[in-house]
Amino acid sequence: MLNIDVIKRGIVIDHIKVGGAMKIYNYLNLEHLDCSVAIIKNARSNKMGRKDIIKIEGMLDEIDLDILGAIDPNITINIIENGEIIEKKNPRLPEYVENILKCKNPRCITSVEQGIPHSFKLTDKKKGIYRCIYCEQAFDGVPSMVSGTVNKL
């Protein structure tokens, strides 16, 4: 397996579905961070076969990492201090997300009305299904928005 330097203090986002790392990289605006970021694509995984990983040196204090649950509910977030994992967490699925997911229903009002947020509600916690609050179509696909917020209803 490809080796990347162990980080002393930072975050490792693990078990990202293959191909999803760049979406998360873009969403978290990691290109603007003044620290080392490693993206490992297509890494071997006992659990998933293949996976993506992002290693970030430094902390993302401003970011609610739970929102990543809406992008990829299976990821694991490891918090690293002094080279050790001090906390391992699986993001919970936010009840409501705004401008994270984009409605792809051509009949939805979001396809024509300017300036309204793309808002989704978690309607099935077990299956992780999000529905557009306007047309109620289930989200199906890869998140394509690059900025957004998470709120509790």
């Binding site: 009949r107 009002i109 309204i116 099935d124 306007y134 047309c135």
Partner: protein, 303 residues
């Protein structure tokens, strides 16, 4: 202030109140002839509609109120590219309540988020049409006297038919109800209706293709039109539109007290020979729609 965007925006208690008020209006419409005196309804219809718009307008006029509005996107500022949010902000200062129909799903919700007057969804694409659902419920309540214990058959376009989805959802709130879903494979009820409404509430249902086989078991038969505008491709429409036609021969197989409902407009899915059958109540249903809309307008203006 309350908006009605989906049929479940009314609680069961509010729905009971709506149905009781509708019944009282039905019995004595004159009593309510000034109930909305000096109140104004705006009908914002971004796509053509005959029944729904006229029904809303008749309802408001029956209550002593007045009506303003437009009946197509071309005759509104939408043709100039105005957003729904801007339109409703302006209309809020011209009227006391508004009914909006729009071809895009979720448009009435967007309107309600920017409105300072109650918004009623008068149909948003293939999505919701709550006043049709309230009308369907009132028709069943008036003519059957109950919701509990009924076997309700839905026939035709169960995939795109918004009235079907809404009525299934509304009836699922009552106990001991059972559905028979009659459609070709291409137009079956979407999986999410089965998963999130029927299975989630343990409601028994069957999916069948034959109207003849299902009809003897039904207390209510809800017929729907296979709608051309819901298809992306005309070939599919032509192939499926004549799949289910209700005629006298099929009616002969039904219970004596089965009711035939239809949201109208009817094309050819119910033969005209059925119109004189006392079990065919779809024109009465359209008449009931005015009373239900009167009751809804009154309740929303009161709150």
């Amino acid at each position: 202030m309350k908006h009605i965007i989906t049929p479940t925006d009314l609680t069961l208690e509010e729905l009971d109140e709506l149905l009781s008020l509708s019944e009282d209006i039905f019995r004595d419409p004159k009593k309510y002839s000034d109930a909305c005196y000096r109140k104004r309804l705006a009908t914002l219809f971004y796509e053509p509609s005959t029944r729904t718009r006229l029904s809303f307008e008749a309802a408001m006029l029956n209550l002593g109120g007045s009506v303003i509005g437009f009946s197509s996107a071309e005759s509104s500022s939408a043709a100039k590219g105005e957003s729904i949010a801007d339109t409703i902000r302006v209309v809020s200062s011209y009227a006391d309540i508004c009914a909006i129909r729009h071809p895009k799903e979720g448009a009435p919700l967007v309107a309600s988020l920017h409105s300072s007057i109650p918004v009623i969804n008068a149909g948003d694409g293939g999505h919701n049409h709550p006043t049709q659902t309230f009308t369907d419920l009132f028709t069943i309540k008036q003519l059957k006297g109950r919701f509990e214990g009924l076997t309700v058959g839905f026939c035709g376009d169960l995939k795109f038919g918004r009235t079907v989805h809404s009525l299934i959802s509304a009836l699922s709130r009552y106990s001991n109800i059972r559905f028979i879903l009659i459609s070709p494979d291409e137009l079956k009820v979407p999986a999410y209706i089965k998963d999130e409404i029927l299975d989630a509430n343990n409601i028994p249902y069957e999916e069948v293709r034959s109207l003849e086989k299902a009809i003897p078991y039904l207390d209510i038969l809800y017929m729907t039109r296979v709608q051309k505008e819901r298809f992306f491709n005309e070939e599919d429409y032509i192939r499926l539109k004549d799949t289910y036609i209700l005629d006298s021969n099929k009616m002969a197989l039904a219970k004596e007290d089965m009711l035939v409902l239809h949201p109208l407009p009817r094309v050819n899915e119910i033969s005209v020979e059925v119109d004189n059958d006392p079990r065919a109540v779809y024109f009465k249903q359209a008449q009931f729609g005015v009373y239900v809309r009167m009751a809804l307008i009154m309740m929303l203006l009161r709150d």
